[in-house]
Symmetry: D2
Subunit: 132 residues, 4 copies
């Protein structure tokens, strides 16, 4: 499991005085930074190896400004060229949201999916979670 | 069907020189403004009648800065207190992304779901689409 | 004078139930799109001709969700390689904010400022405003 | 001096493969969180004591995705009801940007500026910097 903690940013609250739903995909992306580094340790934008195919987020409880949040990140599925990241948002000991993101090992030049190499596959396996 | 068209904002592009995935939920929210007005014509933030329970977005093709986008919005399901919005992003005559958002008629004071009134139900029905 | 009008996006409101200050630089950037096209009609990101050196925004009145906004854009100064864009945010017949942005004609490869060509200079002149 | 460090968020990069200018005011706001707590230790949105009057940011060098950033925050001026926050963005031992933000002790109900109380004034003084 990977984890990052940070304070809610004021501009991420919305007129309902809670964190707006649009902030969460940005948080999840930020928490995937270590996974990006599995694929490109230098974060080389000119040879970026991944593309996002889907995200699906369940909002369980409202998230507020005053307390820090933690994003927990696991890998829930590893396919041939794609894999699924499972993430949770925690605040004040409560699971506030959860979501999955499907990423594809992708060659931007040929616009084709590419098999995930075995060494990276092993790194992903270390963060595997079984969801039923 | 509801529709809005706008130019991509420069800051919505990311280091891959396409629109970043995180922008889309903001676009979808913006395109739901007429639906928010079904529930609160004055957009009264102190009596906001809806909460978001889930979004699920499929990214089909990359979206670029140079051409305007259109967001098409339909209602795909109407339940007792919840309903599902189905939306598509079009650019250059291509469907670039599609997604669903589940919203719940909600009372923030009691934190309880509330039945969608019949008059609003009728407004939602006018934008109904059948997805199989 | 250049002008664009649009609805406030829900996620641009913050916990104070008005538009958060951070949204405005994004609005101003979006309203500069026609100026970007003076320099690169195709908006070619691989040969982008401008870099931002400064922005300075005065917030005069609170901006709210319910009413559309208009961004008015002028050129207030044209130098050798740099120029200044002056912009105002209007809502409900009230000037809500104003700001300047200093942009530089820039060569990203050599990291050097470049003189603004005469044909573009003429296009900028058409939108000139005198501020004392 | 107050300081926070964090990784650049992927979505904060733009099509020029550097951090977009619009991200910085959000970073500066985030770094002001301890100052907000001087005025409202619980971050109570229903009695928010401050409003933003101006920001002015100089962009000195491009900021990139790969390295963490640090935001350094000082108070450069304390007036009767207003004060000025001076902030710098550092990355890879280089000062990349600097800016000032003018905030006003504000009563949202009466829409009037309010004198900064002495105890808060003392807290601000502890982070004072002299800029010439």
């Amino acid at each position: 499991m990977l984890s990052i903690k940070f304070d809610v940013r004021f501009y991420e609250t919305d007129g309902l005085q809670h964190v707006g739903n649009t902030a969460l995909v940005g948080w999840f992306e930020t928490a995937r930074l270590p996974i990006f580094k599995f694929f490109t340790p230098t974060l080389d934008l000119n040879n970026w190896p991944l593309i996002l195919a889907n995200y699906n987020v369940d909002f369980l409880e409202q998230i507020y400004l005053a307390d820090p949040v933690e994003i927990k990140t696991w890998i829930s599925h590893i396919g041939n060229s794609s894999f699924v990241v499972y993430q949770e948002v925690w605040q004040s000991d409560t699971k506030k949201a959860k979501g999955t993101t499907t990423l594809v090992r992708f060659d931007y030049a040929s616009k084709k999916a590419v098999r995930i190499p075995d060494d990276i596959r092993a790194m992903l396996e270390e963060h595997k979670i079984d969801l039923e």
